[in-house]
Each structure stands twice: as structure tokens, then as C-alpha cells.
């Protein structure tokens, strides 16, 4: 739709070649980095699993059946049953939902908040000193510990887990955005815009914001990956998602006491978590190479 409108507005040939070039670039990235395709495919599978969880041969993940406790994997119970007789397969499949929701929400919320704080801090020099000292302070508390401390204040719920992990991630995003803003402000085209009398909000909207999006997107993918691990850790130590909701961390926590006799209870959620985080990280590395070639060379 927008491509059509653009074509009508400007010489068609130019736009077609631009679109072609864009497609070509995506194809080149996929060819040069096959791991990106792998990451995207794995993540796609996980999204499908999360969306269609009820239709994937699952039963009620909370259904107790004391008669069939701690059964090893079989044709009936693919991943075995846990100490309360619940079907581990169903719990792991449903757990995909929690992980993906937490990963996506934290990435979006932390990026939005970090973007706002970073922009303000980069533009209002009065605020900068104070805000950055606060961020330095929060950054010197290890993120998992910060999330644990925040979770101690509230009841365990998916929503609270998201808020706690978001707060723990905000300082890093703010620092990143602020750094980008400070370097962009020195660019000749921004100085030219200031000299031409462009208002600050318009400069931010036209020149600053578009240039922060690439590093921010890359950062957001890594945040999603680390948020999923943090959620699992919080649930694993009993300070995260409540036990009534099956999440990978919870399933592992429940399998902990039995892991020497029934390692499969811990193994399957661990496998799903690792594969999902790996998929997001591969995607993040690919995005970094595609969107930010300079950064890609440095790391």
C-alpha cells in the first residue's frame, strides 16, 4: 500500500530499484549468515507452538494424577510425568507462552522506556548528570539481583515478572540511546538543522529517532533473550511466575528434587529454553551484522 503511494509520488523506476535493492540485501544477509535463517526458523517454530499449544496433543497442564507419578517418557506421556502426575509435555508446550510473552514484553517496554530516558538525557543537559548517576547506581546492582529484590516486594505474577525484569534492563538501554544521541548531536546535518531553526522535537523526530532505531532493535533482541533466561531463573528459585502457571522455570524447579532419578523433567524445559534463547541470539547477531556493520566488526 505505502509502496504504491510512493511509486505514484515519485518516478516509478527509482522506487522499483530501491525495493529490489532492499530485497536483494535481505537475500544477501540470509545467504551470508545462514544462522539468521536458522534462528528465525527456530523462533517461528516456538511461536507456532505457543499459539497452537492447545491443539498439539496436549492435555490440561495442571491436571493432577497421583496414580501415575514420575513416569518416564512413553508413547502416552512424551516427556514423562512429574511428581504430581502432571504431563510434562503439556506443561513444557504451554510454558512456551510464558517465555515468549515475557521476552517480547520486556524487550518492547525496556526499549520504549530506555529510548525516552536516553532521548531526554541526551538533549536536556540539566537532567543528564542526575539521570545518568541514577542509571550508574542501578547498573551496579547485578540485573538478576535487582529483579529478585523487586519480586520480593510483590506477589508472583507474569505481569510483575515483566515489570521487574524491565526495570532491571532499562539502565543499559538508556545508556545506549544516550550515547547514540550524544554522537548524533555532533553530526553536521544536525548542526545544520539547528542553524536552520528547526525545533528540537522535530530534530528528534526526523534526525535522531531514525538513527537510534538500528542499534535499539539489535539491543532489544538481546534483551528479549536475557529476559527469558531471567524469567526462568526467577521461577526456578521460586520468585517468579506463580506455580499455578506452567513456565519452563517452574517445571525445572519442580523437577529439581527428583533430577537424579527423573532427569527428563528438568531436561525437556531446559532444552526448550536453550533452543529459544539460542534462536533469539542468532537473530540478534544477524540483525547486528545487517543493521550495524561497524558494530559487527568490533564484536
Amino acid at each position: 500500500m505505502s509502496a504504491d503511494a510512493a511509486m505514484a509520488a515519485s518516478p516509478a523506476a527509482v522506487d522499483v530499484s530501491a525495493v529490489e535493492a532492499k530485497r536483494g540485501r535481505i537475500r544477501t544477509v540470509l545467504r551470508r549468515h545462514p544462522t539468521v535463517a536458522l534462528g528465525a526458523a527456530l523462533l517461528g517454530v516456538m511461536v507456532v507452538i505457543a499459539v497452537f499449544a492447545p491443539f498439539l496433543g496436549t492435555t490440561d497442564p495442571q491436571a493432577l494424577a497421583p496414580a501415575r507419578r514420575v513416569r518416564p517418557p512413553s508413547a502416552q506421556f512424551w516427556f514423562g510425568t512429574d511428581m504430581l502426575g502432571r504431563d510434562v509435555y503439556s506443561r513444557v508446550i504451554y510454558g512456551t507462552r510464558v517465555s515468549l510473552v515475557v521476552g517480547l514484553s520486556v524487550a518492547l517496554l525496556a526499549s520504549a522506556a530506555g529510548l525516552l530516558i536516553g532521548l531526554f538525557s541526551g538533549f536536556l543537559r540539566v537532567l543528564d548528570g542526575v539521570v545518568m548517576r541514577i542509571m550508574d547506581g542501578l547498573m551496579s546492582i547485578p540485573p538478576i539481583l535487582l529483579a529478585i529484590a523487586l519480586m520480593a516486594l510483590t506477589r508472583g505474577s507474569v505481569q510483575n515478572v515483566i515489570i521487574a525484569i524491565t526495570i532491571a534492563e532499562i539502565p543499559r538501554v538508556s545508556r545506549l540511546v544516550r550515547g547514540v544521541v550524544l554522537s548524533l548531536r555532533e553530526q553536521p546535518y544536525v548542526e545544520a538543522a539547528i542553524a536552520a531553526g528547526t525545533t528540537t522535537p522535530l530534530i528528534i523526530w526526523r534526525h535522531i529517532l531514525p538513527n537510534t532505531l538500528a542499534p535499539l532493535t539489535v539491543q532489544a533482541t538481546y534483551i528479549a533473550a536475557s529476559a527469558m533466561i531471567t524469567e526462568a531463573i526467577l521461577s526456578f528459585i521460586g520468585a517468579g511466575t506463580p506455580p499455578t502457571i506452567p513456565s519452563w522455570g517452574n517445571v525445572m524447579a519442580e523437577g529439581r528434587a527428583l533430577w537424579q532419578v527423573a532427569p527428563y523433567i528438568v531436561f525437556f524445559p531446559a532444552l526448550f529454553l536453550s533452543v529459544t534463547v539460542l534462536a533469539v541470539n542468532l537473530l540478534g547477531d544477524g540483525l547486528r551484522d545487517a543493521l550495524d556493520p561497524r558494530l559487527a566488526k568490533r564484536i
Binding site: G137, I141, I148, I233, P263, L282
Partner: protein, 313 residues
């Protein structure tokens, strides 16, 4: 130089103040009224009010923060709600296993990761390089409890080379002490190794492209000499920075590792405190860990001049 050190040390004060403020707010905002708890079920509203006044809980936030800070500076972290023991005492009891685990992890990680990164940079583009980078991606993606259970399953349950879990104090002999810590340290270290290896590779790639490396090679220096004497020394600043920053990952990971391997350290103490909502203990542990983290990074900052005499302040 002295002025720089002084400035750098002073700069940590506002950072620690923010940490202290956050940690104090935690207790302030914590649900539950300590006065009501102490007064018991039979107490009247007037009793609760009297106890609150006697504890000083009715005074303004900032005054209470100041007094709390003063006590913390004197080493008084308050009293555990659950055990009624001083928090500093509880921390002292648990500090040995965590310190041992962290030190072993950092040592192992540096010994493994730095040569890995150097090798990857030297053989850039080869299969060795690709294997190291692939390992780094896995190290970032596989969470610490997964590595922990996997290592314990293979090396303790199946091969029976090392104990499954537990901790033996150093006082009972060095080998029993070390034996129990090897698997936890490797599990905890995997993400740290990935991080250091990746940065070492990147920093080495940059240094190896410099003219003085070509000069060293031209005057007939051996590869080992070039890599470890000339190049690594010049790549030391970013590597040591990441070693310092990565300690935050280790602190978070220690909480989990100690749970997986049943090590009675500060991580276990934190988990127990969370489950019991023992706020003074949570406060104490967060404060201590953050303090150590800030101090280590301060020390590394000051070490830059040792690694690179070109840096002058």
C-alpha cells in the same frame, strides 16, 4: 595520577548512594508492618502505635534513611526477621563458599577464554575461529542451570568423576574442597568464558592489524612471542574491562548455581531470604554484592595504567 585516583574513588560515592537508597526503599516499601508483627495478634491499635514510635518507624523517610545509612557504614546491616540473627553475622557464615566459587570461576574462565580468543583471532576465518565463535553463541544461550545439570549428569552421575553436589570447607583439605567446586565453576563460568573469549578475539583482531605487529614479525619474533607478549598486552584493556563487567553475570548466576549444586553460600541465603520474605537479609546481600561489583570495577579502571602506560591521567 593521584588526583585521578582520588577523583575516581570519589565518583563511586554517588553510585553507592543510589544503590543504598534503592536498597533502603526496598525495606521501606516492603509489605507488612514490623510494628504490628512485633506487637502480636492481641495488641490494640494504641500498642502498635507505641511500638512503632519506639522503633522510630513513625519518623520521616529521609531521617530514617540517614540513620540506616549511618548504621550500615558501621557494619550494622540490621537483624534477620526469620532467624533474629544479625544480617552481617549470617553473611559472614555464608561468604566462604561463594567467594571460593567466584574466584575459581574467574580463574578458570580467564585461563580458558583468553587463549581461546587469542587462538580464534590468530586463525581468523578458520574452523578454529568458527568453533570458538559458535561456542560463544552457545555459552550466551544456554542458561546456567542447564549447563549445571548437564555437567552434573555427565561427570557426576554417569562417569562418577566428581561429586554430584555439596560443599566441603577449605579447612577440611584442599582436594575435597576443590572437587566440589569444579563442576559449579564450569557451569557458572560458561557464559563468562563466552563473553571473555569473544572480546579477546575482537581486541586481538584489532591489535594484530597494527604496524608494530608487522615490525615484530619482520624482525623475526616467533608467533608465540608476538601473540602473547606484544599483542595480548595491547589488547588487555578491553579484555580486563569485560572481565570486570562480567562479574555482574557471575553474581546473578551464583544464586542459581548454588541452588543446583546445594552449596551453602550467599546465593542460597538470597533464595531462602526471598522465599521467607526476609527483607533485611535481601537488603544486606544486594548491598554487599553491589559494593563488591563497584569495587572490582574501580580496581580494574585503576589497573589500566599498568596494562597500558600510554594511558595517563
Amino acid at each position: 595520577m593521584v588526583a585521578y585516583i582520588a577523583r575516581r574513588v570519589l565518583a563511586t560515592i554517588p553510585v553507592m548512594l543510589v544503590v543504598a537508597f534503592f536498597v533502603f526503599s526496598l525495606l521501606y516499601l516492603a509489605p507488612g508492618d514490623p510494628a504490628a508483627v512485633i506487637a502480636g495478634d492481641q495488641a490494640t491499635a494504641a500498642d502498635v502505635e507505641r511500638i512503632r514510635a519506639s522503633l522510630g518507624l513513625d519518623r520521616p523517610f529521609l531521617i530514617r534513611f540517614g540513620e540506616w545509612l549511618w548504621r550500615v557504614l558501621q557494619g550494622d546491616l540490621g537483624v534477620s526477621i526469620f532467624t533474629n540473627l544479625p544480617v552481617s553475622h549470617m553473611i559472614a557464615q555464608r561468604i566462604e563458599p561463594t567467594t571460593a566459587l567466584m574466584l575459581l570461576t574467574i580463574t578458570l574462565a580467564i585461563l580458558i577464554a583468553v587463549p581461546m580468543g587469542v587462538l580464534a583471532a590468530w586463525k581468523a576465518g578458520s574452523w578454529v575461529d568458527r568453533a570458538v565463535m559458535a561456542f560463544a553463541v552457545f555459552g550466551f544461550s544456554v542458561p546456567v542451570f542447564v549447563t549445571g545439570y548437564l555437567l552434573a549428569y555427565i561427570f557426576a552421575l554417569e562417569l562418577e568423576w566428581l561429586p554430584v553436589q555439596g560443599y566441603t570447607p577449605l579447612a577440611q583439605g584442599f582436594w575435597p574442597f576443590l572437587e566440589n567446586l569444579i563442576l559449579p565453576a564450569l557451569a557458572l563460568g560458561s557464559i563468562y568464558i563466552a563473553l571473555i573469549a569473544r572480546i579477546t578475539r575482537a581486541a586481538m583482531l584489532e591489535v594484530l592489524a597494527q604496524d608494530y605487529i608487522r615490525t615484530a614479525r619482520a624482525k623475526g619474533l616467533g608467533t608465540g612471542g608476538i601473540l602473547f607478549l606484544h599483542a595480548l598486552k595491547n589488547a588487555a584493556v578491553p579484555i580486563s574491562t569485560v572481565i570486570g563487567l562480567g562479574i555482574a553475570l557471575l553474581i546473578g548466576g551464583a544464586v542459581v548455581t548454588e541452588s543446583v549444586f546445594a552449596i551453602p553460600g550467599l546465593g542460597r541465603l538470597t533464595v531462602d531470604a526471598i522465599l521467607r520474605r526476609d527483607y533485611p537479609v535481601i537488603q544486606g546481600v544486594v548491598l554487599l554484592f553491589s559494593f563488591v561489583y563497584v569495587l572490582v570495577n574501580l580496581a580494574i579502571d585503576l589497573l589500566y595504567t599498568v596494562f597500558d602506560p600510554r594511558i595517563r591521567y
